[in-house]
Symmetry: C2
Amino acid sequence: MDEKIILASASPRRRELLERADILFDVIVSNSDEKYTAVKPEKIVEEISCGKAEDVAKSCDRDDVIILAADTVVCFEDVIYGKPSDTDDAFNMLKKLQGNTHKVVTGVTFAIKKDEKIDYRTFHEATEVSVYEMTDDEIREYIATGEPMDKAGSYAIQGKYAKYIKSIKGDYSNVVGLPISRVYHELKAIRTELD
Amino acid sequence: MDEKIILASASPRRRELLERADILFDVIVSNSDEKYTAVKPEKIVEEISCGKAEDVAKSCDRDDVIILAADTVVCFEDVIYGKPSDTDDAFNMLKKLQGNTHKVVTGVTFAIKKDEKIDYRTFHEATEVSVYEMTDDEIREYIATGEPMDKAGSYAIQGKYAKYIKSIKGDYSNVVGLPISRVYHELKAIRTELD
């Protein structure tokens, strides 16, 4: 029998990606404080996703479950951009990203709870995103849509920012917030192993 | 004043991409027979999009309009894949594409009708798409969703095929059916020119 998946994320985008892949899941949002000690973005998102998965794995009293946690950041010129704190912050991020190529990195952790033990598997996926030049008016108009405020890097590739995306290199859904094809295939491998 | 856009396509995906880019438009579906004389995929889609734009431009009695037409194909190993004729055809296409990298090419034509003259602008956009290996069961399961039947190459990247897409290189919306960021910027340039 398939182990139940628990998504340790409140993100509606992650939920939608899992649904589209026909992966059944429950949601238990992690209360992890998202602290990290790593320096490289790839390691930071892995560490944060691991903290989220661990938090849910330890607080949840169910066995035979696979907890899936993820963390996504935008990196440009060695700076990490998370969610904007306000519209000025969003403006500054979008102003940096326009006319340039940045990287979106998602860290993913599976916490496999079985026979009262927890086994962790962590990986990251990176996608390069090239953005057209934007005028300040276009940036302000985009911020006025409200889309940037709860998104890493202040944009939604699947939303009204699409007209400014020149090209990407890597997995598209990774930019949305979860590398769904990698997740699907890792889960398939884990389940084959557990059978 | 902005010239009215007329989309010469019945595709709901193209409509949605234009709406998301806040481009206002009417729809007049072309009756062009999609014939072509070109040999290279890039030229074939340009030629077909041009035929569609011309058909609508000539049959429509409105002036001060920009007609937008597009044609999308999937190319792999010098073979062009359009929409499948039946489920066997879809199976054969998906069997070819799995485990490989193919190219999606969209040809786009703007027919600018102004002062009773028609001016044409045509370009194409290509995106590389890498697909995970799929078992025959996975292919059959995907066909059973019904998604492949009206799509070039028998798949919808924005649908249940997403879990099989390893990575892309280029514009994502181009694979959906219209390179929306290029269309937005070309339109912006045309309108600046016309002003």
